[in-house]
Amino acid sequence: MTEPILTVRNLTKRFGGLVAVNKLTWHVYPGEVVALLGDNGAGKSTLIKCVSGVYQPEEGEIRFRGERVRFNRPIEAMAKGIETIYQDLALAQNLDVPANIFLGRELKHRYLGGLIRMLDEKKMTQESQQALSSLHIHFPDLAQPIESLSGGQRQAVAIARAVYWDARLMIMDEPTNNLGVPEQKKVLELIRRLRDQGVPVILITHTLPDVFAVADRLMVMHRGRKVTEKKTADTNTEELVQYMVGARDDTLHEPGLPR
């Protein structure tokens, strides 16, 4: 079996008396789309925020590409290639597509030995165009501000940005929320394309049809614990719902009853 790209071992994160993530162990392998499922408050977001450097776990370890990592800030996780796309996408609505793809990492011309540094708009536009075409995304006009784009297009810009900056692992939080059906399909297609390009994707979602459409494997959390981990092909909607509401739990040796 190949080495996991991400390993989470015995991870625990507490908020005061509340145990949001409870001794959780989980692996993500290269070239797969893994869905992370669970009801509200199951601990999905907390787990992801530990991986992406927003929170620091109390116990347990995280290994990424074979190396033990501990992120104090999200930017440190990004530097290692863990890109997280939250629902709000972290785009500046008032800036255009290239400005967003290069936000914080703008390309510059240097004059007078670096004394004067001008934005290299032409290069940024070209590179953006390339990054988008590599994902088969085509915008009629890159120079329009993000606020005039559709939800799916914004999602595409956020994904293209992550890919351009060499994402090794993409974490996406409810990427199809608030999108129309055609746009949802396009985003799911993008996720498949990412996987085909060798970028594993963790998909946090409530939307079970999305899971069956793109995920190779899935993991379900309930009250901070992992209750099951399966191949998508080996399960069905009904079973997943039971896991999500806590009616089933593989960590107990008999089918659990809701408490």
């Binding site: 800036l95 085509h138 606020e147 559709s150």
Partner: protein, 381 residues
């Protein structure tokens, strides 16, 4: 607009293109309206001044246009820094008072340097350092408290403005700073060019011709030094806002602070720099007023804060942050100055100026909002 969705893999978007056309038209119009308004205003005053004076007074004379330019320099300088701050969704209420402080500081520095035997030019340089340096300290204070202690900019800059006002009055001993070197006036009142009207007239470059009596009244300075300095600062600020990373990050912070933070923009440092910049341009305004009036005044900028904000808003900068241009602020300042001068020349009582400027501010914001409706700007959550 139709798309041929030839391949299933292409992410064409049906609803983007029609929007982008309407969007472009709306942006174009919204940028245009201020120019159109300024032009209409000038035409209105040319005609009405001419009619009411029976054809004896011309609004658009060389002298009058130069007076307008000189009059807007302090408002514009305050507005330039303010433009950056407001684009980044902040506000700097201290700028008028900082300008007063800079006027006092520069006057004290110039007087001290000159009395210590420094040549006039070096004394002015000392004044520049005192004005901009002193102002920058206030900006640093504002920025640090806003960025690091997360106190709202409105409150911090209001408070620091009061403090600065007190300090200015203390340092100037509750009066104006006088006793400045006699030649100092030239720095604030000489010009790049002069034009002498009449048959023996013509242009004079840099040097003011020696004239007396009647001939003096036929001489018009063109581009007085405060105007030249302000124009240089305007050009610099346009460059910084449009062509540099600093400008780009200013827009990003105003558009989505959280996104700016997450993409690794040093947001706190940037905010501190913005308030230093805002104070520094107010510092330049303070120095220029000292040079122009040959005295430091602890109250010279007090009334200019709201005018500068009005210029910024008329120029299309969004108070919610994320949008605005330097050229817009320049036009905004011009509109206010043309309005004020024109009304004076029409012999309209002074208090009407306030009523008209106030109405223009509100109309400007209404126009910007209707633009936002047209281009479908979404809420900035």
């Amino acid at each position: 607009m139709t798309h041929s969705d030839t391949t299933a893999h292409e992410h064409h978007d049906g609803d983007a293109s029609p929007k982008s056309v309407g969007h472009r038209i709306a942006i174009g119009l919204s940028r245009l309206w201020a120019w159109v308004f300024l032009a209409l205003l000038i035409i209105f005053f040319v005609v009405s001044v001419s009619v009411t004076s029976g054809g004896t007074v011309n609004f658009l004379t060389l002298r009058n246009s130069q007076n307008i330019l000189v009059a807007i320099t302090p408002v514009l300088l305050l507005g330039l820094g303010q433009t950056f701050v407001i684009i980044a969704a902040g506000i700097d209420l201290s700028v008028g008072w900082v300008m007063s402080l800079a006027s006092v500081l520069s006057a004290l520095a110039i007087r001290a340097a000159f009395n210590a035997g420094a040549p006039l030019f070096l004394s002015v340089i000392a004044g520049l350092f005192a004005a901009v340096g002193g102002a920058a300290v206030v900006g640093l204070f504002n920025g640090l408290i806003i960025a690091k202690l997360k106190v709202p900019a409105f409150i911090v800059t209001l408070g620091s403005g009061f403090i600065v006002r007190g300090v200015s009055l203390l340092m100037s001993e509750n009066t104006t700073v006088i006793g400045l070197p006699p030649g100092l006036r030239d720095y604030g009142n000489n010009a790049l060019l002069y034009y002498l009207h009449g048959e023996d007239g013509g242009f004079y470059f840099l040097f003011r011709p020696e004239l007396t009596g009647d001939a003096l009244r036929r001489l018009d300075p063109i581009f007085m030094w405060p105007v030249v300095v302000t124009a240089i600062v305007v050009a610099l600020m346009m460059f910084v806002l449009r062509r540099t990373q600093f400008g780009r990050h200013t827009y990003a912070i105003g558009g989505n602070l959280e996104a700016a933070r997450r993409t690794g923009i040093p947001v706190d440092r940037h905010i501190i720099m913005l308030y230093i910049l805002s104070s520094a341009t107010a510092g330049v305004a303070g120095l220029l007023s000292t040079l122009r009036f040959n005295a430091g005044s602890a109250v010279i900028g007090d009334a200019l804060l709201l005018q500068s904000i009005a210029a910024v808003i008329i120029g299309g900068v969004s108070l919610f942050g994320g949008a605005g241009t330097i050229i817009g602020t320049v036009i905004g300042a011009l509109i206010i100055a043309v309005l004020t001068t024109g009304l004076v020349m029409l012999n309209v009582a002074a208090f009407w100026q306030f009523i008209v400027v106030g109405a223009v501010v509100i109309i400007a914001v209404l126009i910007d909002q209707s633009r936002d409706l047209i281009i479908g700007r979404r809420g900035r959550e």
